[in-house]
Symmetry: C2
Subunit: 148 residues, 2 copies
DNA sequence: ATTCTATGGTTGATATGTCAACCATGCGCT
DNA sequence: AGCGCATGGTTGACATATCAACCATAGAAT
């Protein structure tokens, strides 16, 4: 059994990994929010409504697809609704709620897409080597698999 | 010049990278906070006070070492002070503030260290191959360098 | 019929982050 | 003296996240 504290190398790895992510991710989000007024959450919601749902999705499906709790989504949608980005419509079929992207939401998304694409290319993809791509892909497979 | 939207492969990479990080990081933080009652921020503050400062550090140095704004740190310290984890002492030398780890803070940190070490080994280090280690190290170097 | 449980969602309290405005002091310059 | 400016920090407002409690209804199970 190893020591119950991390050695210098282990700690260094953890900090580098965490640091790189936060640095890159922060840059992407900053670019997006400055240029579009959308937060990461806003973009995620709009993106999924557009791609998966063709503009609409029931709340629970949306929450699942984003890996968010229903509470978190509920609060967030309330704020987005206030800003006119989405609308909620009760489904009497089974007391669910349908979330719809509004025209304003759709146009905000359309404006954001190229901004996000450019930011991801500039701050993330541009730094990757072939080896990194392989590493990222494999690691994702390993962690998801052993997930639940 | 490429298209101004991401292609499937680019998007997949971004999502995998982001997803792996959030999954792993979330697991580590969850383990820690459940077993110790400290948040990530709490741990970071205590850790730096202990390692860099031998128990104390001026507020601005602490903020720099954590990559936090002074505002963020000020708010966080107020909460930690309330809980008795740290104390603040004015430095009349140059109107700065010295942040001290309290005995309760120190013992909370000592309890947390092995928990954090175990969580990082279990959720992060255990998944890494030699290639990942190299990839993480190099990527960190590249992004920091091109940072400012 | 009654009670249990699962599903779908809301709500309020509290913790955490960000932003801009503010305050005080020291320091250099004119 | 008077000004501009940098440094070190606080504050309040607001956005975001988490947690637990709650509400309503549908479908079993008793």
């Amino acid at each position: 059994m190893e020591n119950n504290e991390l050695n210098a190398e282990e700690m260094r790895l953890w900090h580098m990994w965490k640091g790189s992510f936060q640095l890159i991710f922060g840059r992407v989000i900053k670019d997006m929010s400055e240029h579009t007024g959308l937060s990461e959450g806003d973009y995620g919601v709009l993106d999924r409504l557009d791609l998966h749902g063709g503009g609409q999705l029931r709340q629970q499906e949306l929450a699942d697809s984003m890996d968010w709790t229903k509470s978190r989504l509920s609060h967030h949608l309330t704020r987005m609704e206030q800003r006119g980005l989405v609308a909620r419509k009760p489904l009497d079929a089974d007391r669910g709620v349908q979330v719809l992207i509004t025209p304003e939401g759709k146009s905000a998304l359309d404006e954001a897409r190229p901004v996000v694409a450019k930011a991801i290319r500039k701050h993330f993809l541009a730094y990757l080597t072939e080896q990194d791509v392989e590493s990222i892909t494999k690691l994702a497979g390993r962690t998801k698999a052993g997930s639940l």
